[in-house]
């Protein structure tokens, strides 16, 4: 769907969907240069998610990708990653993690 949205752009240079607004939730998407996509669902009308997504991406590169024991494409099981993710979300002030 991300790729199709690029095709349908009326102007060139489209990099795909950044925000999807639904009736009951918004979906924010961050695409890294490698193509890895990070998604966050929020209440409708939440702003300022770009910074949070960038922060989460930095945490991802630090705790997951730089982990020598991590195999790419496998689910992430790292306590430091979970801890720092929760901290970043709490620091943001507007969000809180629900479940795992």
């Amino acid at each position: 769907m991300h790729a199709i949205s690029k095709e349908l752009s009326p102007v060139g240079g489209c990099s795909g969907i950044e925000l999807l607004e639904g009736d009951t939730f918004d979906l924010h998407c961050f695409q890294a240069l490698t193509g890895t996509k990070l998604f966050v669902t929020t209440e409708p009308g939440t702003t300022g998610m770009e910074n949070l997504l960038k922060t989460i991406y930095e945490l991802y590169t630090d705790y997951v990708l730089k982990n020598p024991f991590y195999e790419v494409e496998m689910p992430i099981r790292c306590e430091l990653w979970d801890l720092n993710l929760a901290l970043a979300v709490k620091k943001d002030g507007k969000a809180s993690l629900v479940g795992r």
């Binding site: 199709i4 009326p10 102007v11 240079g13 639904g22």
Partner: protein, 157 residues
């Protein structure tokens, strides 16, 4: 296809019926097209169908998720009303009869839900559906529709 002011944020508009037939395609400013018009319309309809199913399934609130793969009825489950990329914003509205209105605009455009509702109720229904010479389910060409739409769109900045 009237020329709008260079500062206008409107790019193009599609109207589809529930079977995927593109009833109307209106373009104001589209400097970049990669596909033929037919392919473009098919792709657009397909994308909307997928996005609607995706939104209904991803809904963190709401009970009835329906069956995976089954097309959902208009109004059933959570639906999206717009998405934004770095180059454009797409606003979407589906009427209870399955008529889908899509407006592609500049990404800085605000919420167009009211505008879409107005276009459906006061322009599409008045000038197209109520036209005795029009057969439902067919693409249409109507000068009054085009001119009223252009006039209304000029007020949307």
């Amino acid at each position: 296809m009237a020329a709008l002011a260079p500062t206008s944020r409107m790019r193009c508009m599609y109207i589809f019926n529930r079977n995927g037939v593109c009833l109307h395609y209106h373009v104001w400013m589209r400097p970049h097209t990669t596909l033929s018009q037919q392919q473009d319309q098919k792709l657009m309809f397909g994308l909307l169908f997928s996005l609607k199913s995706f939104t209904a399934k991803m809904d963190p609130v709401g009970g009835n998720k329906g069956n995976l793969g089954m097309p959902s009825l208009p109004g059933q489950g959570c639906s999206f009303h717009s998405f934004r990329t770095n180059t454009y914003k797409l606003s979407f509205m589906e009427s209870p009869s399955g008529i889908k209105l899509i407006l592609v605009t500049d990404p800085r455009m605000g919420d167009l839900r009211e505008a879409l509702r107005f276009i459906y109720n006061n322009i599409y229904v008045e000038y197209v559906v109520k036209n005795p010479l029009y057969t439902l389910g067919q693409p249409f060409k109507c000068e009054l529709f085009n001119s009223t739409l252009d006039q209304y769109v000029k007020t949307l900045q």
